[in-house]
C-alpha cells in the first residue's frame, strides 16, 4: 500500500507546531498502525531527520499509553480499538491519513504526538481508592458481592486511562474517566464507606485540572476503546448530588481526600 501521512510535528511544549507530510510506499496491510510509524521513523532517522515522537508501550491494547487522533477520531476509525490494535488493512491504498495528538487544555503537548496526562493520576490521587492499608484486610469471602454488581464494577474498572474520552469531547471533559472509577467503587461494599468524599474530591480535582463540563453528547462513549458506558456518568451525577445534600466536603482530613 502507498499512503500519505499528515502528522502533527511540535518540537516541545513551547513550539507552536505544524503538520508535516510524509509518503510511505511499502505499507503492509498486516502492520499495526504503530508499526507503520516505526517504519516511518526508521526512514526519517535514515535520512537524518528527527523521528516522530509518540507514546506507546504494551502494544496489545491494555496499557492505555498510545494516543493518536487519526482522521479526526481518537484511536482511529475502528470502534472498541486502541491505536496499537488498529491494523493497516482497515485503510486503502492511496489514502491520506491525518494524525494529531490528543487536543485538550488539561493534556499539554510535550512533543509531536506525546501529551502530558498526569492530570488523570491527580484525579485518582484525590479519591479513586479504598483507604485500606496493607495487612488490615479480612478474609476475602467475608465480603460477598452480588455477581451482577461485581460484573458491573469490572466493566467500569476496565478503563485503561488513555484519555480518548477527553480527546473526543468537544468540551474536553474527563467525566467518563472519573465516573468509571467512581461507579466501580460505589458499586462495591468496600467502596461505599468513602463514597461521599470520593465523588466530591475527584470532581473538585477534575475541575481544578481544567477539564470541561459534560453536555451529554456521548462522543466519549462512542470513542472509548474499552466501551466504557455513559451510564457511569449518570451514576457519578447521582453520587455527586447525594454527596452535596448529605455532607459538606471536608478537605482537611486524612487520605488527601477528606
Amino acid at each position: 500500500m502507498k499512503l500519505t501521512l499528515k502528522v502533527w510535528r511540535q518540537k516541545n511544549a513551547k513550539d507552536s507546531g505544524k503538520f508535516a507530510t510524509y509518503q510511505l510506499n511499502e505499507v503492509s496491510p498486516d502492520m499495526s498502525f504503530l508499526e507503520m510509524f516505526d517504519v516511518l521513523n526508521e526512514e526519517l532517522v535514515g535520512k537524518g531527520e528527527d523521528p516522530v515522537a509518540f507514546d506507546h508501550d504494551c502494544r496489545e491494547g491494555i496499557c492505555g499509553m498510545c494516543s493518536m487522533y487519526i482522521n479526526g477520531r481518537a484511536h482511529g476509525p475502528m470502534s472498541g480499538t486502541t491505536t496499537c490494535q488498529l491494523h493497516m488493512r482497515k485503510f486503502k491504498d492511496g489514502d491520506t491519513i491525518t494524525v494529531e495528538p490528543w487536543r485538550a487544555g488539561a493534556f499539554p503537548v510535550l512533543k509531536d504526538l506525546v501529551v502530558d496526562r498526569s492530570a488523570f493520576d491527580r484525579i485518582i490521587a484525590a479519591g479513586g481508592y479504598v483507604s485500606v492499608n496493607t495487612g488490615s484486610a479480612k478474609d476475602a469471602n467475608n465480603i460477598p458481592v452480588p455477581k451482577h454488581d461485581a460484573d458491573a464494577a469490572f466493566a467500569a474498572a476496565a478503563c485503561i486511562g488513555c484519555g480518548a474520552c477527553v480527546a473526543a469531547c468537544k468540551n474536553a471533559s474527563a467525566m467518563l474517566f472519573a465516573s468509571a472509577k467512581i461507579s466501580q467503587l460505589a458499586l462495591l461494599p468496600q467502596g461505599k464507606v468513602e463514597r461521599t468524599d470520593r465523588v466530591l474530591n475527584m470532581v473538585k480535582q477534575m475541575d481544578a485540572e481544567g477539564f470541561g463540563s459534560c453536555t451529554n453528547t456521548g462522543s466519549c462513549e462512542a470513542e472509548c476503546p474499552k466501551n466504557i458506558s455513559l451510564e457511569n456518568i449518570a451514576t457519578m451525577n447521582r453520587e455527586y448530588l447525594l454527596a452535596t445534600v448529605s455532607k459538606q466536603p471536608d478537605f482537611g482530613g486524612t487520605g488527601g481526600a477528606g
Binding site: 516541545n12 503492509s28 498486516d30 502492520m31 499495526s32 507503520m36 516505526d38 526519517l44 532517522v45 528527527d50 523521528p51 515522537a53 507514546d55 508501550d57 504494551c58 502494544r59 496489545e60 491494555i62 496499557c63 492505555g64 499509553m65 490494535q85 491494523h87 488493512r89 510535550l110 512533543k111 496526562r117 488523570f120 493520576d121 485518582i124 490521587a125 484525590a126 479513586g128 481508592y129 479504598v130 485500606v132 492499608n133 496493607t134 495487612g135 488490615s136 484486610a137 479480612k138 476475602a140 469471602n141 465480603i143 460477598p144 452480588p146 455477581k147 461485581a150 460484573d151 469490572f154 476496565a158 485503561i160 486511562g161 466501580q184 467503587l185 462495591l188 468496600q190 486524612t254 488527601g256
Partner: protein
C-alpha cells in the same frame, strides 16, 4: 556455596521459618521511619505495592517509572490469573500443595524457603486486593470464583475476566496514588534510572534522567528497591511491552549486584505468529485456550492446502500423540519445544511456515451438541450445532478470539488459529537473599526483576502472585532488618563525590552514544541481537551455537558503538536515545545469558540443552552436577565470574518430570 553469597535462610523447620523471622527480626520505630528514605524504581505490581505499603508504614518514599503514569507498567497486560492457596473450592488445596507445585513446576531449581513463604502469603494477597475493590470474578452466591490453570489439579486461580493483571495493578496503583495524595510518596513519571550510587559499600541512591527534558538528577535513599521487571526484550520480539528493559538491573549488576540464572527464559507456546519484518512485538493468547483447542500440523511436509481442505486422517495432533496423558495441556516449555520441532522439520503452516494450528472445530461441535441437549433440541443439524457451539465458545474465550481477529484479520470461529511460541517471561534476574536483598547492601530486587521463586520454569498465574507477595507482604518486614541499623544514618547530600561521580558516568555514557553519529538505527542492532538470541539461545541451545552467539554478540556490540545513529539531542524528549541506552545494555546481557546457558550443560525447565536429552527427545536434568543457582559477578570490561548457591531440598524429593 560461594563465600561471596549468603542466602540468609532462617533456621528452623520450613513451615516455621517465615513466622519465626517476622516475629524476631528487628523493628524500626514509627518516629525513625519518618526520617528514613526509600527509593522504589518501577511501578508495576511489585513496585506499586511496595511503594504504597512502605509509605503506609511511615517511610519517605520516592517512586520512579519511565512511562507517563505508574498505571502503565507491563504487569497490566497479564491475562490469566493469580494463584492463592485459599482452598475455597474444598478440593484439597493447601499452602504445602502450592509450594510443592511451584517447586516441581520450576524443575527443582528454586529455593525451598522462598517458595514456601510465597505460598504462605498468597492468601493474604487476595484479601488485600478484594479490600481495595479489585473486581474479581464471582459466583452467583457473591463469593469469589476460581479456575484451574497451568495444569494444576486444584482450582486456585483467581481472575478478573482475561484482564487480571490490569485489575491487580490498578488496585496497587490506587493504593500508590492514595499515598501520593497524602504526600508520603513522591512520584517521578517519565524518569528512567540510569545508575545506582554506592557509598562505603552500601547502596545510597540513584541517578535518573527526566525523559521529557533530558535533565539528569540525583536522588538519595537509605535503601533502593529495583522493581523493574524482566528482560525478555533482549530477544527484540517478545510479549513484553516495547519499553520493558534490563537497564536498571544491569546498571546495578555492573555496580556489584550478582545476576542469578540469566539463561532461564520462558517461551510461551500460544502466541500470534510473526507476520513480517515490520513486526515490533508478539501478542500472547492466554494459555487457557489450550483447555479446549486442539493443536495440529499436516502429516505431509510443506503441505500448502488450506486447513479446511486437509482431511482428519492427514492431520497430526502431535501433542496428543506424544503425550497421551497430558495431551494439549503439557507445561509451557514442553508445548513450545514440540511446536518448534514440528516447524523445523518442515510441517509448519501459514505463509511463514513458522506456526501450528490451534483448532476449535471439535470444541465448537462438542459444546454445540451439549447446548442443544440442554435446550431439548433433538435434531439440531450441523449448522445449528455449530451456531450453538460458537455461542458457548464466545462466552468463554470471546475477548481472545476478538483480539486474534483484530491482529490477523482472520475469524478463528471459522478457520483454525495459527500460533507459535514467543519469549514471555524471564525467571533469571538479580540474585537476592531470603530478604530480597542483592549482593549490594541496601539494594533490593522484587518481582520479575529478581531471579525469583520460579526456578527454571514459571507456572501459569504465579507471576502476579510473586510480584504482589514481594511488595505487599515480604519487603515491609525484611527491609526493617536492614533499616533498623540505619536510623543514625543522616541523608547523604547529593553533592557527595559518589553522586557526582555517578552522574558524570551517566553523562559520559550518553555523550558517547550521541557522538557515534553512525549510519544504522537502534532498532537495526536490536533486531540483529534478537535474531542471534532467538536462534542460538532460544528454545533449544547447544554448545556450538552458544559459542558462536558469544562471538557474534561481541562483534555486534562493537559495531553498535561504532555505527549507531541517534538523532536529536540529549536534552529533549528523545525516544531513540532511550532505546539506544537499553539496547546497549541488552548487548552485554545477551552475552552473559549465552555464557550461563553454556555453563549449564543440563536441560531443566525452559532451558533445553540439546546435548542433554533422552532418546525420545525429552529433557534430561542433571541434579548431580547442576543443582545450584548460578550467580554471576561482574568483573569489569564484560568479564563475569560465576558463584554457586547450592540448592538443598529438605522437604521435596526432586524427580524427573514426565507428562507421557
Amino acid at each position: 556455596m560461594s563465600s561471596k553469597i549468603n542466602s540468609r535462610i532462617p533456621e528452623g523447620s520450613l513451615e516455621q521459618k517465615w513466622t519465626t523471622y517476622r516475629s524476631t527480626t528487628a523493628l524500626v520505630n514509627p518516629a525513625n521511619k519518618r526520617s528514613l528514605e526509600i527509593i522504589v524504581v518501577g511501578s508495576g505490581l511489585a513496585g506499586a505495592s511496595a511503594a504504597a505499603s512502605l509509605a503506609e508504614l511511615g517511610y519517605k518514599v520516592k517512586c520512579f517509572c519511565f512511562q507517563d503514569s505508574p498505571r502503565r507498567a507491563h504487569s497490566i497486560a497479564a491475562q490469566g490469573g493469580i494463584n492463592a492457596a485459599k482452598n475455597y473450592q474444598n478440593d484439597g488445596d493447601s499452602v504445602y500443595r502450592l509450594f510443592y507445585d511451584t517447586i516441581k513446576g520450576g524443575d527443582y531449581r528454586a529455593r525451598e524457603a522462598n517458595v514456601h513463604r510465597l505460598a504462605e502469603v498468597s492468601a493474604s494477597i487476595i484479601d488485600q486486593c478484594v479490600a481495595q475493590g479489585v473486581p474479581f470474578a464471582r459466583e452467583y452466591g457473591g463469593l469469589l470464583a476460581n479456575r484451574s490453570f497451568g495444569g494444576t489439579q486444584v482450582q486456585r486461580t483467581f481472575y478478573a475476566s482475561g484482564q487480571t493483571g490490569q485489575q491487580l495493578l490498578l488496585g496497587a496503583y490506587s493504593a500508590l496514588e492514595r499515598q501520593v495524595g497524602l504526600g508520603s510518596v513522591k512520584m517521578y513519571n517519565r524518569h528512567e534510572m540510569l545508575e545506582i550510587v554506592n557509598i562505603e559499600g552500601k547502596c545510597r541512591g540513584i541517578i535518573a534522567r527526566n525523559l521529557v527534558t533530558g535533565e539528569i538528577t540525583r536522588h538519595f535513599g537509605h535503601a533502593v528497591l529495583l522493581c523493574t521487571g524482566g528482560y525478555g526484550n533482549v530477544f527484540f520480539l517478545s510479549t513484553n511491552a516495547m519499553g520493558s528493559n534490563v537497564t536498571a538491573a544491569w546498571k546495578a549488576h555492573k555496580k556489584g549486584a550478582f545476576f542469578g540464572n540469566p539463561c532461564f527464559t520462558q517461551i510461551h507456546p500460544t502466541c500470534i505468529p510473526v507476520s513480517g519484518d515490520h513486526q515490533s512485538k508478539l501478542t500472547l493468547m492466554s494459555e487457557s485456550l489450550r483447555n479446549d483447542g486442539r493443536i495440529w500440523v499436516p502429516k505431509k511436509q510443506g503441505d500448502t492446502r488450506k486447513a479446511s481442505e486437509i482431511p482428519e486422517d492427514e492431520r497430526d495432533y502431535y501433542l496428543e500423540r506424544r503425550y497421551p496423558a497430558f495431551g494439549n495441556l503439557v507445561p509451557r516449555d514442553v508445548a513450545s519445544r514440540a511446536a518448534k520441532e514440528r516447524c523445523d522439520a518442515g510441517y509448519g503452516v501459514g505463509a511463514s511456515k513458522m506456526a501450528v494450528y490451534l483448532d476449535y472445530t471439535a470444541a465448537i461441535e462438542r459444546y454445540g451438541k451439549t447446548k442443544a441437549t440442554q435446550l431439548n433440541e433433538n435434531n439440531p443439524g450441523e449448522a445449528r450445532i455449530r451456531e450453538l457451539g460458537k455461542q458457548v465458545v464466545a462466552e468463554k474465550y470471546g475477548n481472545l478470539f476478538e483480539m486474534y481477529e483484530k491482529i490477523t484479520g482472520e475469524n478463528p470461529y471459522e478457520v483454525p488459529m495459527r500460533i507459535y511460541p514467543a519469549v514471555h517471561y524471564t525467571m533469571g534476574g538479580l540474585w537476592v537473599d531470603y530478604e530480597l536483598m542483592t549482593t549490594v547492601p541496601g539494594l533490593y530486587a522484587l518481582g520479575e526483576a529478581n531471579f525469583s521463586d520460579h526456578g527454571a520454569n514459571r507456572l501459569g498465574a504465579s507471576a502476579l502472585m510473586q510480584g504482589l507477595a514481594d511488595g505487599y507482604f515480604v519487603i515491609p518486614y525484611t527491609i526493617g532488618t536492614y533499616l533498623s541499623n540505619e536510623i543514625r544514618t543522616k541523608p547523604v547530600p547529593t553533592d557527595h563525590e559518589a553522586f557526582v561521580e555517578a552522574e558524570k558516568d551517566v553523562r559520559e555514557n550518553i555523550a558517547r552514544m550521541m557522538n557515534v553519529k553512525g549510519s544504522k538505527t537502534v532498532d537495526h542492532f536490536h533486531k540483529r541481537l534478537g535474531k542471534i538470541m532467538w536462534e542460538k539461545c532460544g528454545m533449544a541451545r547447544n554448545e556450538k551455537g552458544l559459542n558462536e552467539a558469544i562471538v557474534e554478540i561481541r562483534a555486534l556490540r562493537e559495531e553498535f558503538w561504532r555505527d549507531v545513529r541517534i538523532p536529536g539531542s540529549a536534552d529533549e524528549l528523545n525516544p531513540e536515545l532511550e532505546k539506544a541506552g537499553r539496547v546497549a545494555d541488552f548487548l552485554e546481557l545477551g552475552e552473559l545469558m549465552c555464557m550461563d546457558a553454556l555453563n549449564r550443560a543440563e536441560s531443566c525447565g525452559g532451558h533445553f540443552r540439546e546435548e542433554s536429552q533422552a532418546e525420545d527427545g525429552e529433557a534430561m536434568r542433571d541434579d548431580a552436577n547442576f543443582m545450584y543457582v548460578a550467580a554471576w559477578e561482574y568483573k569489569g570490561n564484560t568479564q563475569f565470574e560465576m558463584h554457586k548457591e547450592t540448592l538443598v531440598y529438605e522437604k521435596v524429593k526432586p524427580s524427573q518430570r514426565s507428562y507421557k
